[in-house]
C-alpha cells in the first residue's frame, strides 16, 4: 500500500507553517491601522497549524503548539478581560482605552494601548478556537 500522505504536501506544510505564522503576527500588529486584526491574524495562524495537521495529523500539530488549545482559549479570554479591566483599576469605565507611547530609536513612535492588547486576546482565542475545532474534526476517523 502506498503512502496515504503526500510527501510533497508534507514538505509544503512544514515550510508554510512558520511563514503563515509570522504573517499572522504582522497582520495582527498592523490591524489597527491596516486591514487585519486579531480575528484575521488568528485565523491565519490557525490555518498554519491546520495545514500541518492535514498533512501529518492533529497530534503532530498539537506538539508544534507552544500552548494547549484550551490554554490558548483561556489565555485569550484572560487577555481580553484584563485589557478591559485595566481601565477599571484606573477608575475609568470598563474597557476604556488606555494608551501610552513608546519612543523607539530612529524617532519611531509606538502607540500601545489596551485595545491592541484586546486584539491580541482575540488573536489568541481565535487560534485556540479554530484549532480546538479543526484538530478534533481532523481526528474523526
Amino acid at each position: 500500500m502506498s503512502n496515504p500522505y503526500s510527501n510533497i504536501f508534507r514538505i509544503a506544510a512544514t515550510k508554510l507553517r512558520p511563514l503563515l505564522f509570522i504573517l499572522s503576527l504582522i497582520v495582527l500588529y498592523r490591524g489597527h491601522q491596516q486591514p487585519g486584526g486579531g480575528f484575521i491574524g488568528g485565523l491565519m495562524a490557525a490555518s498554519a497549524y491546520i495545514l500541518y495537521a492535514l498533512a501529518f495529523n492533529s497530534a503532530e500539530a498539537r506538539r508544534k503548539l507552544p500552548l494547549s488549545t484550551s490554554a490558548l482559549l483561556g489565555t485569550g479570554l484572560a487577555v481580553i478581560l484584563v485589557s478591559g479591566l485595566l481601565s477599571v483599576l484606573a477608575g475609568e469605565p470598563f474597557m476604556t482605552g488606555m494608551w501610552t507611547t513608546l519612543h523607539l530609536p530612529f524617532g519611531q513612535e509606538l502607540h500601545l494601548g489596551t485595545p491592541v492588547l484586546f486584539d491580541a486576546g482575540v488573536y489568541l482565542a481565535v487560534i485556540g478556537v479554530l484549532l480546538t475545532i479543526m484538530f478534533d474534526i481532523i481526528d474523526i476517523e
Binding site: 502506498s2 503512502n3 503526500s6 510527501n7 510533497i8 514538505i11 509544503a12 512544514t14
Partner: protein
C-alpha cells in the same frame, strides 16, 4: 563573497529560465485550448530521482508542473521516483533524459 555572487546569478538565471518556460508553457497551452482540435499525446512517465532533499524535490515538482506540457502527479514513498503527466509525449525515455539533464540538474545547481 564570490559564492554568494555566484548563487545570486544562479538564482536569477533560474528565475529567468523558469519564467521563460512558464511563458512558453502558457502559449503552447493557449494554442491548444483555442484551436478546435487537440494535438496532445499524453502519457504518465516515471522519472528516477537523484536529488534527495525535500527542498530540491519540491522545487523540481514545482518546476515540472509550471513548465510546458508536464505536470507532477506523484512522488513515490521513498522519494526516489517522480511521476509526471506529459502532454506531448513522443518517447518516455527521451523525456526522462530531458528532465534528468535539464530540470533536475538546474534544481541541483540552485540548491547546492
Amino acid at each position: 563573497m564570490k559564492y554568494i555572487f555566484v548563487k545570486i546569478v544562479q538564482v536569477i538565471a533560474f528565475a529567468g529560465f523558469y519564467l521563460w518556460e512558464l511563458l512558453k508553457a502558457n502559449l503552447v497551452l493557449a494554442y491548444d485550448i483555442l484551436t478546435p482540435t487537440h494535438h496532445m499525446k499524453p502519457g504518465i512517465v516515471e522519472i528516477p530521482l537523484d536529488i534527495k532533499s525535500d527542498a530540491e524535490i519540491v522545487t523540481l515538482v514545482n518546476l515540472i508542473t509550471m513548465t510546458p506540457g508536464s505536470l507532477s502527479l506523484d512522488v513515490s514513498e521513498d522519494k526516489k521516483r517522480l511521476y509526471v503527466h506529459v502532454l506531448y509525449l513522443e518517447d518516455p525515455e527521451a523525456y526522462r533524459e530531458e528532465v534528468k539533464t535539464g530540470l533536475e540538474k538546474r534544481v541541483k545547481e540552485v540548491w547546492s
